[in-house]
């Protein structure tokens, strides 16, 4: 009997597991975390660009790169809340997303102007003295579009589901809904 009860309650909540903003003026900031993340942030971004460019020859690509970059912004947000996030990215996320898709679609359409089918690709190789071979494939632009879009997506999620939800006073919201429902009934 007791065993069964234990099984049923094995993961009942015993403590609050998420920091809450409720009742305080802002995000409870932790200097240590913030500083660490600020240092880490550019490094992770550079790594994400590496993933984007290396995608042609190693695991990676626009997706993985974009996701890694996005996770960098997530770190900033977790460390410092929306204030911190705002200092990292000032542009509107929907615009970034739109730009990403625009780049991708334009990459699809440009070959048509040169008499190729939609989404056709070409690639060139140059030898640059002292640097090595440089390869450029037009489909890289497509990957850049993907990268941009994913970064924009993560930023947008941080804005809407991250910052959008946390600062809301849910209780008051629901109280109002309830009152409205009562008024309707009357």
């Amino acid at each position: 009997m007791t065993e069964r009860q234990d099984w049923e309650q094995w993961d009942l909540p015993t403590e609050a597991w998420l920091r809450s903003e409720r009742g305080s003026e802002g995000w409870p900031r932790s200097l240590q975390l913030e500083v660490t993340v600020r240092v880490l942030f550019p490094t992770v971004l550079v790594f994400s660009v590496y993933l984007l460019l290396a995608g042609h020859h190693a695991p990676g690509g626009g997706f993985s790169g974009g996701l890694v970059a996005g996770l960098a912004f997530v770190l900033r947000y977790v460390a410092g809340g929306s204030v911190e996030l705002a200092s990292a990215a000032r542009i509107k996320p929907p615009a970034v997303i739109g730009a990403g898709l625009s780049v991708a679609v334009l990459t699809a359409l440009v070959p048509v102007a040169f008499g190729h089918p939609v989404l056709a690709s070409t690639h060139w190789e140059w030898h640059v003295a002292g640097f090595g071979d440089v390869k450029l494939a037009t489909n890289l632009f497509f990957d850049i579009g993907v990268y941009l879009l994913i970064v924009g997506l993560v930023l947008d999620l941080l804005r809407s589901l991250g910052a959008g939800i946390e600062t809301r006073d849910l209780e008051r919201e629901q109280e109002r809904e309830r009152r409205r429902a009562e008024e309707e009934r009357r």
Binding site: S160, Q174, R178
Partner: protein, 127 residues
């Protein structure tokens, strides 16, 4: 190109749990069900390519020993799509929580009204 038993069992387990959770009333369970089913579907897609081989990198692995790259690409696409839709569903469940005050899937009101009229209060009460 028969899939190995271990993968098949894993797929069966994932789909089974997914289906079970999908038929719950709690929205969170349903979302988790869709996530788990998504994992299952992606794995299935990957497994559909045939027996595994080396990673598909030209010049590193001989072509004959490579795993089929196409289902991987398809699965990759599917993973990202599932992710996007999961986030949307989460946002919707949040909205539902705000508006309804709970996160359970409720029965349709009009259907209910018709049922009540037709089948009588007794049966409704017995449910």
């Amino acid at each position: 190109m028969t899939v190995d038993v271990t993968t098949a069992v894993l797929l069966g387990g994932l789909y089974g749990v997914g289906f079970y959770l999908l038929m719950q009333r709690s929205l969170m369970h349903i979302i988790l069900a869709l996530v788990i089913l998504g994992h299952g579907a992606n794995l299935l897609l990957q497994a559909a390519g045939g027996p595994p081989g080396g990673p598909a990198f030209v010049g590193i692995v001989p072509a004959a020993a490579m795993s089929d790259p196409l289902p991987q690409a398809l699965a990759l696409t599917a993973i990202v799509i599932t992710f996007g839709l999961t986030t949307f569903l989460l946002a919707l469940s949040y909205r539902s929580w705000v508006l309804l005050g709970h996160d359970e899937v409720q029965d349709d009101i009009e259907d209910h009204r018709l049922r009540r009229r037709e089948l009588g209060e007794a049966e409704e009460a017995g449910r």
